[in-house]
């Protein structure tokens, strides 16, 4: 599919985003009987392995306000974040029927227990809670992770009989390397020209990477670059901010728009962190591609609230990002009741103070509909920074 105009290309992304039935994935699956769909929850999974097993990895990031919660509240108390409710809702209302399995990455206790609920509710489907090492020594955590990935590929093979083999996995890695490269370029473009690529459009494009197959997505993104080149938009007098803390339950589109409309260009964020989790090109000419994926995770992954800090303070890493992106401040924007994001916040805020970086914070639900307060907060933040500058 080729687009001649930017708004049509974005409309395509928006249509995919709004389609809670994942019909793109269902159509993809219909084309071949060995094709399977594997849904995954935030944040990171090694999609290369799924791809190499002839399966489509599809990101499930809740459904925001796009689905009424009928069953979900009977599964989760009011003091648990909102995302698992809409995930349950998607499942209960049949939108995930075409999925053959689900992977729940080890990021928090809610996702962990949600995997158990899926086990109880979907006995005939493949359910895997994927544990990642919090020990980053190659011969300790790396060894454990390698075995986890081996177990994962063996289990996937049982689903469709397709073995994950070396040269095919190398190929999958290379095509995802290309996706990472293109997405990095897009992130750099957005950071340099936030007036040309709004945060919402950037976000919608990123989301398509978690919906479309990589073979469709990479050309789509190349197409987007051509269209972006043609755009002629004047920059506005806005400050530049980084959004931190929204890596799992997603803020509503209206909220992202509100922040930018209130005078803050978003020049970096962690909304779709999976896409830039691996920070280096992974080798594609090895006899041991699983080892290459392990090495990438252990030695070349991004910092996150869900990963043990070790001796690289996350606050310093966030401050570096601020510097790299020439940002004026940080917006700590986390879902209510989100342990990883909210428990990181005190030290991150203190680190921003230490580095003389301005910041403000708020909490949201994925189905939030009112943005007045946030608009005021963001507007005041932008005005204060402009005044001080």
């Amino acid at each position: 599919m080729k687009f001649d105009n930017f708004s049509e290309a974005i409309q395509h992304a928006r249509t995919l985003f709004e389609d809670i039935s994942f019909s793109y994935a269902s159509n993809w699956k219909k084309q071949n009987s060995t094709r399977h769909i594997i849904g995954f929850l935030p944040i990171y999974i090694p999609r290369e392995i799924i791809h190499s097993a002839n399966m489509l990895p599809v990101g499930i990031f809740g459904a925001g306000d796009r689905i009424p919660v009928v069953h979900g509240d009977a599964y989760f108390q009011s003091y648990i974040c909102h995302l698992p409710r809409t995930v349950i809702e998607l499942a209960k209302s049949g939108h995930l029927n075409d999925f053959d399995g689900f992977i729940f990455p080890a990021i928090c206790d809610v996702i962990r227990n949600l995997s158990g609920i899926f086990m109880l509710d979907n006995k005939q489907k493949f359910i895997r809670y994927l544990d990642y090492p919090q020990n980053f020594e190659g011969n300790v955590g790396g060894k454990f992770y390698r075995q986890e990935l081996n177990r994962l590929s063996t289990d996937l093979e049982k689903l469709n009989g397709k073995k994950v083999i070396t040269n095919e996995l190398n190929h999958s890695i290379s095509i995802y390397n290309e996706q990472r490269r293109l997405l990095k370029l897009l992130g750099d473009f957005r950071s340099e020209f936030p007036h040309k690529l709004s945060a919402v459009d950037y976000y919608l494009i990123q989301r398509t990477a978690h919906t479309m197959c990589v073979e469709d997505f990479n050309p789509y993104l190349e197409n987007i670059f051509l269209l972006l080149d043609k755009l002629d938009v004047e920059p506005e007098d806005k400050i530049r901010v980084i959004i931190s803390g929204s890596f799992c339950e997603q803020p509503p589109i209206g909220l992202i728009k509100t922040i930018e409309n209130a005078g803050c260009y978003i020049v970096e964020d962690d909304l779709q962190l999976n896409l830039n989790w691996i920070t280096k090109e992974i080798p594609t000419d090895t006899d041991d591609p699983i080892g290459a994926l392990v090495d990438a995770y252990i030695n070349h992954s991004i910092f996150s609230s869900t990963v043990y800090e070790g001796d690289k303070p996350k606050g310093d890493q966030l401050a570096e990002q601020v510097k790299d992106r020439k940002a004026d401040g940080v917006v700590f924007c986390a879902p209510s009741f989100c342990d990883p994001a909210l428990l990181d916040r005190p030290q991150l805020e203190k680190a921003m103070d230490k580095h003389h970086i301005r910041h403000f914070s708020f909490q949201y639900h994925e189905n939030l509909g009112q943005f007045h307060v946030i608009k005021e907060q963001a507007g005041t933040f932008a005005d204060t920074i402009k005044l001080w500058e």
Binding site: F76, Q77, S115, I117, Y129, D131, N135, V140, R345
Partner: protein, 426 residues
């Protein structure tokens, strides 16, 4: 809270007092202090290095019981913690910010080592990441325990833990304590642990009697369990459980119910199994609602967070590190949801419970996420009355007596009707 004291309780009081005295004397004795968590605790290893454990969760719950947690939580929220996160963390941080005065009114020593046993709860990792900033001089050792996602212990998980023990934990213990690891010393502590574990299981199993001689929830957390975590691996711990077991046997032989703050429970009307931690800020008031109704908890999941021994696991001197790994992997909240449902199902049957109750804790995702599903699944499988209440661990703002009482009144009514109905039909 005044409770008619048995010998074991006095013994426990003395052991805890001695422990806190030892902690206040570390400057003179030179003993090193390890802060760590109850689930997946490596108490034997800590004692094998002659170090002293401190459990921030236990400090937090005691602050809750002493009505100090509200202040501490406010302090932590002013420091930057959200209202939404685990109140144990905030209580601990607040206590530290206000001078780290422990349960005995004396200042607790800062940690020499933060042993981050990341077992069954994600918050543990975040908690100690925060403490690392508050105690910058302390060494930190991370022990990551993988989750039992497949419902069994995978060999690579065992190996991973053993690898971490030998490459991360033990070297840091050696560095901090200045002592070499002595496997024989660890083995001898493991042997004593196994003896205490046998006795602990017998004590909890005594709840199969009618009437039950123990309350496996309130009594479980008040005097049966705490000693276990803090002193496992010592002769004093074995002695304590021998005494406790003797007392329990006496109660069984004489048909006595459990001890409550108002004396021995006269009539056991309902036998319950409970899922979730208790509320600590109104512990007595909370307990009273149940014993006033003649309700006894015959099993509880919370008393298994520090380790599950019902199914036969014992710390073992053979392959001591492997045994520590197996112990950590087996803690209650490290089991997947289907396993948790099966376990509760088994307890309800084994202890002949009439009802199942969930005490859902507002700020504890590790327990709370999934509890509604657990409840429905048990109701479906066993057709027993189920009840649901909400409180918090140590945040007094979330204890509403009237709400809890209303919900429990309906639950007890349901239990009464069911008992009546069962009486008629049988």
């Amino acid at each position: 809270m005044t409770i008619q004291k048995e010998n074991s309780m006095l013994q426990q009081k003395q052991m805890l007092a001695d422990h806190f005295i030892e902690l206040t004397q570390v400057q003179e004795t030179g003993k090193k202090v390890v802060y760590t968590f109850v689930p997946g605790n490596l108490t034997e290893l800590i004692y094998a290095f002659d170090m002293l454990p401190v459990y921030p969760e236990i400090n937090a719950l005691q602050s809750g019981m002493r009505k100090q947690s509200g202040d501490y939580i406010r302090e932590a929220e002013e420091y930057g913690f959200s209202e939404d996160v685990c109140s144990y963390v905030k209580c601990d941080v607040g206590m530290m910010l206000q001078g780290n005065i422990g349960p005995t009114g004396q200042k607790l020593p800062p940690p020499d080592l933060l042993l981050l046993s990341y077992t069954g709860c994600f918050v543990f990792m975040k908690w100690f990441e925060n403490l690392k900033y508050l105690y910058p001089d302390a060494e930190i050792a991370m022990l990551h325990i993988p989750y039992q996602e497949s419902g069994r212990i995978e060999p690579n998980a065992m190996q991973y833990i053993k690898d971490q023990l030998t490459t991360e934990v033990i070297p840091k213990f050696e560095r901090v304590s200045g002592k070499k690891f002595d496997p024989d010393k660890l083995a001898s502590k493991m042997m004593l642990s196994a003896q205490a574990e046998d006795l602990l299981v017998k004590v909890f199993d005594s709840a199969q009697n009618k009437p039950s001689p123990i309350d496996a929830y309130f009594g479980g957390v008040y005097y049966i369990g705490p000693i276990f975590t803090a002193f496992r691996g010592s002769q004093a711990c074995v002695d304590y459980y021998q005494e406790l077991h003797k007392e329990v046997e006496y109660r069984v032989a004489n048909g006595l119910g459990p001890i409550t703050p108002d004396g021995t429970l006269k009539e056991e009307k309902f036998r319950l199994v409970v899922e979730g931690p208790p509320n600590w800020t109104h512990f007595r008031n909370f307990w009273k609602i149940f014993y006033d109704m003649g309700a006894v908890f015959v099993a509880s999941s919370y008393t298994k967070v520090g380790g599950l021994y019902d199914e036969g696991f014992r710390h073992s001197p053979e392959d001591a590190l492997g045994s520590l790994a197996e112990y950590c992997l087996g803690c209650y909240t490290n089991r997947n949801l289907p396993q948790r449902v099966d376990m509760l199902d088994n307890w309800i049957t084994k202890y002949q419970a009439n009802g199942f109750l969930v005490n859902s804790i507002k700020s504890c995702n590790s327990f709370s996420a999934g509890q509604l599903v657990i409840m429905r699944e048990l109701e479906r499988r066993l057709e027993i009355p189920v009840g649901f209440i909400e409180t918090d661990l140590v945040d007094p703002r979330y204890y509403s007596f009237s709400n809890i009482k209303n919900r429990l009144d309906s639950f007890f009514q349901m239990l009464e009707q069911r008992t009546l109905y069962t009486g008629i039909t049988s």
